[in-house]
Amino acid sequence: MNLVVLNRRNLLAASGCALAAGVSALVLPARAQGVAPTASMSGGANNYRKGAPVVERIGKGGFWMTGTVRRAGDGAPLAGQRVQIWAHTVEGQEHEPQSHGATLTDKNGVFRLEMPQIIPIFGQPHGHLAYDSGEFKSVFLRPVMRSAKDKSLEAHFVLQPA
């Protein structure tokens, strides 16, 4: 007798299988694609100034902006990529030229730029970073500091070809 009994145990087992199948279907293609590209954050490009110069340090420093730049797919580090950084700091407002600067990633795809202390503006202590050099699709980030007293902030780029 092939009688399918619809009791709680069978239902749970069946739904468990369905869930497992559904989840793996969602996960597997993502794994095949590898490292997903970073999407621009809303408000990330606000007060952006194109072509800020590469600098040793923005202003007098005291605060560190760090991060990495990698390639979408295989996640390989991208060396020599220009990252622009700006924020409202103790030395100037977000839109002012002295609040902007750029730096390049090293051979490990790591960047690190000293800048003045970021302070809350528009209700949140946050920084802005941009990759906007053309070789890859532009990405604008707007990370928020956990505390306004933090002395550093990090942001990571995964770029896809333009």
Partner: protein, 205 residues
């Protein structure tokens, strides 16, 4: 009303509004802000303070401003609230246009922006509808105004609490709590009053 009671009510109200505003002037953030940004922030605080005054006025809780006089002042304070919000938004627009555009279009990354913008539209709606309140009819007007008042109070309070700005945290929370309590108290009172016949004695000319 006893003089001591009158004095204490006004003193409490002055403190509820004055202390948070005074403490905001001690914020170190002011050092790095321009005058327009500072005025914009101040206008926001004043608007929050007026949101406390409004229910107290309309319910007649403020000595010497009960009944008809309280309602007249409520209208004027409502107008002042609109002006304060306009200065707040205008000043922030001048300070950073792209951030303000994001907020007004509900695309801002900051979680407090939609609350503030929604409260702003509710304030404008009340002010606009107030001009036609006779045509709307007292009953409809009251229901609409009360519903919008709930939006204004909850929107403003959540907006203020989530913003990391010049206001000192405890005095800001205290003012916000008073705004919420005053609104709830007045709404409950008005709803109870509606079930009874129209008041007369406390409402004299």
């Amino acid at each position: 009303m006893r003089l001591a009671r009158v004095v204490s009510i006004w003193a409490l109200l002055a403190a509820a509004l004055g202390v948070p505003i005074a403490l905001s002037f001690t914020s170190e953030l002011l050092e790095w802000r321009g005058p327009v940004y500072i005025i914009a922030g101040l206008a926001g605080m004043i608007a929050l303070g007026l949101a406390l005054v409004q229910p107290l006025l309309i319910a007649g809780y403020l000595p010497a401003l009960a009944g008809y006089r309280g309602r007249r002042v409520h209208h004027w304070v409502g107008g002042a609230l609109v002006v304060a919000v306009l200065i707040h938004v205008g000043g922030l627009w001048i300070t950073s246009p792209p951030d303000m555009i994001d907020a007004l279009t509900y695309t801002s990354p900051t979680p407090f922006s939609p609350w503030g913008v929604t409260a702003m539209w509710a304030i404008f709606a009340v002010a606009f509808l107030a001009l036609f309140r006779r045509r709307l009819g007292l009953r409809t007007w009251r229901i609409v105004h009360m519903a919008l008042a709930v939006v204004i109070v909850s929107g403003s309070v959540v907006h203020a609490m989530l913003v990391e700005g010049t206001m000192e945290t405890i005095s800001k929370a205290a003012l916000c709590a008073l705004v919420v309590v005053a609104a709830i108290k007045v709404i409950v009172d008005l709803m109870q009053r509606k079930t009874r016949p129209m008041r007369s004695s406390s409402d004299g000319p």
